[in-house]
Amino acid sequence: MQENKTEIKKGITLHTINTQKFKTNLMSIYLTTKLEEQTVTKNALAALLLRRGTATIPSQEEISKKLEEMYGCEFDNGIDKMGNNQIYKFYIETVNDEFLPQSEDKMWKKALEMILEIAISPYSENGGFKEEYFEKEKNTLKQIIEMRKDNKARYSLDRCIEEMFKGEPYGIFKYGKIEEIENIQNKELYEFYQNLIQNCKIDIYMSGNLPEEKEIIELLNQNKDFKKLQEREPIYSEVEIENREDSQEKLVEEKMEVSQGKLIIGLNVKAQNQKEKIATVVYNAILGGSANSKIFRNVREKAHLAYTAASNYIRLKNAIFIRTGIEIENYEKALKIIKEQLKDMEEGNFTEEDFNEAKQVITEGLKATYDEQDTQITYYFSQELAKENMEIKEYMKKINEVTKEEVINIAKKISIDTIYFLKRGE
């Protein structure tokens, strides 16, 4: 079960993963464009408008009814950031025909047609989006942005990222800014999107019980919406090794009505190449990647300071984020323990067991992607963006080749950049 990749038109790639293993077929479309202050809010608003209606299915109600009629076919779309890019994501999932009472027209074909139409041919009136939808979705976007403070854990992490990458694309909130919303004009946004769809990087993923790739390509080339897409030199941010300057440790505090404090620490990682990045993956697993990790053991199990205590490595940005939820008065204590763990890593104070178990946690996770269609697609897409194109097996092999020395070496290139603390107060 491997990924098959074909560039159908310049800048537009079809990725298929053919497998009989699942009860469903899953298809995703990713539109990748640069993450920039001037366009971030527009993209977020356009993404909301796309789900309101298409050229032939003019309302959300009718889209929903169609999906229900297709045995509860699931559709979702949204906006995300990955590295310095903003991504439009579209997903559609159908039940395999063999599990349906009467096999009508092939369900995956219907679903593919639908997702293409939603992404490429939004419903329009007078050269813009429908005015009613446009006004409504401006409001929805405002709500989404206002609501970000409600999820304290997510908010704290986002804020730490923003502070650490201030003035850089990755420091931009993926939904943009409230003040920008009112400046957007309907027709201008519609044209903006028309332009984007002709210039962005497009990746189409299909996983499941599928026909030959040739047949899918033929179907795409005949599809009325797909035909509209031209060849392009895609405009997006290609991944590069980032060299962030050595920064002074900076502390950012924010106050809210909370009973638990959130301490998030952003680490700057100076991994220079793929080999070092893979060593960083192992480093992170030892530090805070599992229930056996140093942070979990020392902050939660030994000192009983937290329920949540973990870390994540954002490969595309060469940064690690440590997340904990603690009693506010335990801030100093928790910070001290975390710093000790970082020091331990540098000095190689972790056991052979810690090291091997961390590798095992990673490889087990990778093996499991074979069982999950969505995780598998996400894996391949992040590989695509990182321009690494490693098969899962190869990635596992490289993880296993990492040595203890490489991990210690990388530990020495890691430093605290931003400490973010959300605490109680007005």
């Binding site: 293993k21 699942f22 009860k23 469903t24 959300q60 109600e61 929903s64 009814k65 999906l67 229900e68 009629e69 297709m70 045995y71 509860g72 076919c73 999932e93 039940v95 063999e98 599990f99 349906l100 009472p101 009613e132 409504k136 409001n139 929805t140 709500q143 989404i144 206002e146 609501m147 403070k149 409600d150 304290k152 809210m256 009505e257 909370v258 009973s259 638990q260 599992s290 229930a291 056996n292 053991r297 939660r300 009983h304 300071l305 937290a306 329920y307 949540t308 939820g325 603690i326 009693e327 067991e353 178990e357 095992q360 946690v361 490889t363 087990e364 093996k367 499991a368 074979y370 069982d371």
Partner: protein, 421 residues
């Protein structure tokens, strides 16, 4: 083993009740790498008063003890923590407690039997000391506080409190910082010995296995424990009526959150009724419903409603939630739509379409090994075989759905909980 096959979803269940009373259920999944084991006991936060088999007096224990017990089970007498031991084997282990069950589980690919040994040993060997009970109180207090800061959880729990007057479902699964402070090792052992008897437990495994062989492996790992008698669970007499129609609480949120509840009670033909309720909810508040379309386009709500039918041994209720600038308006609109649907009747075309959706959703439940195992466990706790939904769906027709609509969707059984600034 007894074999139950479902031809619609093309899966089989192998099940056996062992001599010590333990029920073992195995769902083989060909060509899947992941293996999932979950060992559950019919014991949750609702069970705070009971009569131990062989005793005559009722025992009352502090709220949150089932959850506390779950946390403490991983600690072993030799000083190790089996959560770490399991993680070291490369599997990912966890446990959870709900109102009516506690479960221990792991998911993994390699070292399956080694991990099975560890998990089964853990669940069969409690080790509580004054000291380790004391230190756990700090961790759980942080967990309770995390939930306290989560408006989604608070608004949900308040809706439950609005529906139920006395039933313990109205108490937070984890208890309170105050209630858990009263927990001692003696009460923990008492609860363990009562509820962790094999006759009160169900073990479910899903993955690429030969069921009979696997059953033997399970048997090898069981220590000898005789089945105990019936545990008498004491729940307060819960009236059919709701407790109070509305609970409002203040929290820092950008947009008010609300949960509408409908108190249902225990139903006949649970599976069939549950399916009908799901179709009715889709019809009333689903993404294609008139109510959602109207409230969305006028700006009262900003996203789809979350809704579900929750059922346990002795009660059930409907939950509808979301965020809105005007929760009262959502509530009024819901009542209006229910009345309208009762008056005009269910449209045949809508009904058929939503039944198709439900059929597809039921098929999708059998994809992921972890989901399958958890579903079989949760259903079995309530004496339901998970295949039954697929078997029953055809019998849910328009007449039956209409009957359920009239029986259950009654205004006097509805409540609303709101959280706002």
């Amino acid at each position: 083993m007894q074999v139950i096959e479902n031809l619609k979803v093309k899966e089989k269940l192998y099940t056996e009740k062992l001599e010590n009373g333990l029920t073992v259920m195995i769902i083989p999944k060909k060509d899947v790498q992941k293996k999932y084991v979950i060992w559950g006991t019919k014991y949750g936060s609702n069970d705070s008063e009971f009569i131990v088999p062989g005793e005559t007096e009722a025992t009352k224990v502090p709220n949150g003890i089932a959850h506390f017990l779950e946390h403490k089970m991983f600690e072993q007498e030799n000083g190790t923590d089996s959560l770490f031991a399991l993680t070291s084997m490369g599997v990912s282990a966890n446990a959870y407690t709900t109102n009516d069950q506690t479960a221990y589980l792991f998911e993994g690919i390699e070292n399956f039997y080694e991990a099975l040994t560890e998990l089964m040993h853990t669940v069969q060997h409690p080790y509580f000391t004054d000291e380790n009970v004391e230190k756990e109180k700090g961790i759980i207090a942080q967990e309770i506080k995390m939930y306290e800061d989560t408006p989604e959880w608070r608004v949900y729990l308040n809706a439950i409190k609005a529906m139920y007057k006395y039933h313990p479902v109205r108490i937070d699964t984890a208890g309170t910082v105050e209630s858990i402070s009263k927990i001692t090792k003696e009460t923990l052992y008492k609860c363990y010995n009562t509820f962790y008897n094999p006759s009160n437990m169900i073990l479910v495994i899903c993955g690429d296995f030969e069921p009979e062989e696997l059953l033997e492996e399970v048997k090898k790992r069981l220590i000898e424990t005789p089945a105990n008698g019936e545990i008498k669970r004491i729940y307060p007499q819960e009236p059919e009526e709701i407790n109070q129609e509305k609970i409002e609480e203040q929290m820092q949120v950008s947009t008010p959150l609300y949960t509408i509840g409908i108190k249902v009670g225990k139903l006949q033909e649970e599976v069939k009724a549950g399916l009908a309720i799901e179709i009715l909810l889709d019809l009333l508040v689903g993404p294609s419903s008139q109510m959602y379309q109207k409230l969305y386009s006028e700006g009262t709500v900003f996203g789809e409603f979350n809704y579900s039918y929750e059922t346990s041994r002795d009660y059930s209720h409907i939950i509808i939630g979301g965020t809105s600038k005007d929760p009262q308006k959502v509530y009024q609109e819901f009542k209006k739509r229910v009345a309208e649907l009762k008056e005009k009747g269910i449209n045949k075309e809508d009904f058929e379409r939503l039944r198709k959706k439900l059929y597809g959703n039921l098929i999708k439940e059998f994809e992921d090994v972890s989901h399958i195992a958890r579903m079989f466990l949760s259903d079995a706790i309530n004496d339901i075989n998970s295949f039954d939904y697929l078997e029953e769906i055809e019998s849910v027709n328009l007449e039956y759905a209409t009957q359920i609509l009239n029986q259950i969707f009654n205004e006097e059984k509805m409540v609303i909980s709101i959280i706002k600034n």
